[in-house]
């Protein structure tokens, strides 16, 4: 026979005003299996907790039910108290007679009856409770950071500075990401590269950071604290250890007319190249698709001129396996392209803007390269078609963003600010030039942001026209911008020399594929989903994986850096213990009954169920059963409700407990 103790709380008068607590305690005493019951004014107070502890010892109780407020309020409190008196904390439960009873009913008689019922049900549950021990999993104190933009760099540096090892993986030949492409940054107009490149160098020099550039994630196995990550290091055709970064190969390469992606195809690069002068690492890579040696087998100039003999045309991709305990995903964003690619893009076309066929219609990132001192024009604003300085520039915001009918309903967040910045940069470089901005709303929340935007309008004379543009077309070397000014209620036609589109911020190409490898969820736009929009903005629902930067949603640099540091803090917290402790509400398989149908595996949202082979002593396969990895299991119990043979059970919510509660109705 169980020996349960029932403790009924008055909660001052919060409960006792509507519920006859003495009667509830009295009726509880009559329940089979209840060895002790009492009521008390404030169970959560120190005297209340001491009462509980004392009763546990005196009455030799083997289970506790506190009928009081919501378990969401004080379950931890009472479990701790019970534990300190020697009871397994999971044998202590709460009956909610405040939020679910005294506060929502006025009829004292009915409320008291309900409270007694709640106690009765919960006693049945406590009786059948099991002592559970927190699950511990070992933690590998190394982190993987995916993506070497400002988010990944910040997270990697923070974790490395805390003394933990970091593996930083970047898809491109150099770290730096989009921030390295920017000219100046809002709201202070400080040079992006000036603040970015020192951080890049820090990454390269940090003893705790292993940098894999030109590498991608191939496979991710394991779970929080214990991931095995396979990284594909793409063949660079240059041996990193031998290369001194002298740059002779790139200057001697005969193939020099390849559009440079880093300069948004405005400038040219060679077939063996470093994306930009400040690249980290400063090791070139051969673009095999454009290299004469790879295409026709004739050339080999780079190998001939390379002093340290670092060129290796035979180099193959290699796979590296790294064990890590946590992952920070920082894969960033891409800008939507208005080119006609409806099959690749969720945005349903921008034919009215010429589908990218008008050469002087460019996007914001291309404007950044035009404005950048290290860009293809040396920082002069010159339009791509004829290299002339544009006298009138029209900026169009919300291209793709906030356009439900086009397929994207979200706001890209950064465009209002960077467009304001662009108008300023333009005015600073072309003093008599005029900037026009077509906008829906100017969204400038952020420290110093609205002042910045006002400056663009009031000091730098940018003309802001509230309305959208319906068409762009070429006429006599100009681009005619047809739009509307909705504040004045007139149609506007502007002859522009250059048009800059603030195109939508989208998730990186392949973001969905990476998410599938990592087992994290993503929204319909392929942005990664955080575990909770407000209270867990950095964590993924999958334990041990954290998000930083624009891969989770459009973000500017300050927000990105904040989130990256937050993700790093989460990783460091995780690494502060040798063993990971977690709530033991997890599913367990009864291997005797399991027939290995693996329905549970199909429904498990965490991928926690794996197949397990049971063999006899001779090693013959007896059967295959399901096995739940307690480190990964989230404890939802979907497997249990699905299992046809009832051979998987969720601790804390067993069929036996629930059925007993229903019986007691």
């Amino acid at each position: 026979m169980s020996r349960i103790g029932v403790f009924v709380c008055h909660c001052g008068e919060n409960i006792s005003r509507t519920v006859d607590v003495e009667r509830v305690a009295g009726e509880a005493a009559q329940l089979p299996g209840v060895a002790y019951s009492c009521d008390y004014k404030y169970m959560c107070s120190d005297p209340g907790q001491n009462l509980l502890k004392k009763a546990l010892a005196e009455h030799n109780l083997d289970g506790v039910l506190v009928a009081a407020c919501s378990p969401r309020m004080h379950e931890k409190t009472f479990r701790k108290a019970a534990q300190s008196a020697g009871l397994n904390p999971y044998l202590c439960d709460m009956g909610n007679i405040r939020e679910h009873c005294s506060w929502v009913h006025e009829d004292r008689e009915a409320a008291t009856a309900k409270a007694s019922d709640i106690v009765k049900l919960m006693v049945e549950r406590v009786k059948r409770g099991k002592a559970l021990a927190p699950i511990t999993v070992p933690v590998t104190k190394r982190a993987l950071v995916i993506g070497g933009g400002i988010a990944g760099i910040q997270a990697a540096l923070d974790i490395a500075d805390a003394g933990k090892e970091v593996i930083l993986v970047e898809r491109e030949p150099s770290i730096g990401g989009h921030m390295a492409q920017l000219s100046e940054t809002f709201p202070t107009l400080d040079c992006s590269q000036c603040i970015m490149t020192p951080k890049m160098v820090d990454v390269a020099n940090h003893p705790n950071i292993t940098l894999y550039t030109y590498a991608e994630i191939e496979k991710v196995d394991g779970y929080i604290g214990n991931f095995q990550v396979t990284i594909r290091r793409k063949a660079r055709s240059v041996v990193e250890d031998k290369c001194t970064g002298c740059g002779v190969c790139t200057s001697k390469c005969p193939k020099k007319k390849i559009p440079n992606e880093f300069d948004q195809n405005l400038g040219m690069r060679s077939a063996i190249y470093v994306p930009f002068p400040q690249a980290v690492p400063n090791t070139p890579v051969i673009d095999r698709e454009n290299c004469t040696m790879f295409q026709s087998g004739k050339c080999g100039v780079c190998a001939k001129v390379c002093g340290p003999q670092a060129i290796d045309y035979e180099q193959q991709d290699t796979l590296v396996v790294e064990a890590v305990g946590a992952v920070v995903v920082a894969t960033g964003f891409k800008l939507y392209s208005i080119d006609r690619k409806p099959e690749e893009s969720p945005i349903k076309g921008y034919g009215e803007f010429g589908y990218g066929l008008i050469p002087d219609v460019i996007d914001g990132l291309t404007f950044e390269r035009l404005a950048s001192a290290s860009g293809p024009t040396g920082g002069k604003i010159l339009r791509p078609s004829d290299g002339k300085e544009p006298r009138q520039v029209v900026f169009i915001q919300c291209v793709g963003s906030r356009a439900r009918e086009k397929g994207i309903s979200y706001c890209s967040k950064i465009c209002c600010m960077y467009t304001a910045k662009h108008t300023m940069l333009y005015r600073h470089k072309v003093h008599d030039g005029q900037a026009y901005v077509f906008y829906m709303d100017a969204r400038t929340p952020g420290k110093g942001y609205d002042e910045f935007w006002r400056r663009a309008v009031e000091v730098e004379d940018a003309v802001y026209i509230r309305g959208m543009v319906s068409r762009l077309y070429q006429r006599d070397g100009k681009i005619v911008v047809m739009g509307s000014d909705t504040l004045v209620g007139v149609q506007v036609e502007i002859e522009a020399d250059l048009v800059v589109l603030a195109t939508a911020v989208q998730a990186q190409d392949g973001a969905d594929l990476l998410a599938q490898k990592l087992g994290i969820s993503y929204d319909k736009y392929n942005f990664y989903s955080e575990a909770h929009a407000k209270l867990k903005p950095v964590e993924c629902a999958t334990a041990g994986i954290y998000l930083a930067g624009a891969c989770q949603g459009p973000k500017d640099i300050p927000d990105t850096v904040s989130q990256a540091s937050a993700a790093a803090a989460k990783v460091i917290t995780l690494f502060s213990k040798d063993q990971l402790e977690r709530d033991p509400v997890v599913a367990k398989v009864n291997e005797k009954y399991c027939v290995g149908c693996l329905q549970c595996k199909k429904v498990c949202p965490y991928g926690a169920v794996e197949e397990k082979e049971i063999r006899d002593r001779q090693g013959n396969l007896v059967k295959v059963v399901a096995n739940v990895n307690a480190g990964v299991c989230g404890g939802c119990g979907t497997c249990q409700a699905t299992c046809p043979s009832k051979s998987v059970e969720l601790d804390g919510y067993t069929d036996e407990q629930i059925m007993a509660m229903i019986e007691a109705l």
Binding site: M1, S2, P32, G33, S70, P71, R72, N96, R98, E99, H100, C101, W103, V104, H105, E106, D107, A110, A111, A113, K114, D117, I118, L121, K127, R128, S521, A541, V585, V603, P605, Y606, G634, G635, C636, G637, T638, Q640, A641, T642, L650, G652, Y653, D655, I658, M659, A660, M661, I662, E663, L665
Partner: protein
């Protein structure tokens, strides 16, 4: 809203199977907001609607429930990512089955109540209670169980004692 003064001839038993993250918290919110609803409902907490086995619903009806409510997070909001989707599928099929065996489906309600929807919780519970009250007691399964009691020997003193000794 329910008036406490009003006396009824029949007080139905309503059982609510709820998930801990959304609907349980929503019911808590109704409490902290001091909203009022009929005291007929008994709440059973689950980690997730995905954990709720249709057998529980059957058993509840058998054990005297006149109405059953199953409620969890809104689709897409599941704390466990997809548990409520599995639940939704399961119950869509189960409902048909329950109708087939002759249970009036007005006695069974599925709903999504988020942690922010204290008001919705009150609405759902009140509506179901009043609906079931108007329908009168659910007899079908109870009669079945009586038959079961007749044919089986669940009520021998030994078994009763064993049951109570748990």
């Amino acid at each position: 809203m329910h008036s406490a003064e009003k006396k009824h001839d029949f007080e139905p038993k309503v059982v609510a199977f709820v998930c801990t993250w959304c609907t349980y918290a929503g019911a808590d919110l109704a409490g902290t907001s001091r909203m009022q609803y009929p005291p007929n409902v008994r709440v059973l907490k689950f980690p997730c609607t995905g954990r709720i086995d249709p057998v529980f619903i059957l058993r509840a009806f058998q054990k005297g429930a006149d109405g059953v409510l199953v409620s969890g997070c809104h689709p897409g909001d599941c704390h466990y990512m997809a548990g409520n989707f599995h639940a939704r599928r399961r119950f869509a099929a189960f409902r048909v089955l329950l109708g087939f065996v002759g249970v009036d489906l007005n006695r069974l309600q599925f709903s999504w109540v988020s942690a922010a929807e204290g008001g919705k919780w009150v609405e759902v519970v009140t509506e179901l209670t009043e609906r079931v009250r108007a329908m009168g007691p659910m007899r079908e399964f109870k009669e079945l169980e009586q038959e079961e009691q007749w044919s089986a020997t669940l009520t021998t003193p030994e078994l009763q004692q064993a049951y109570e000794s748990i």
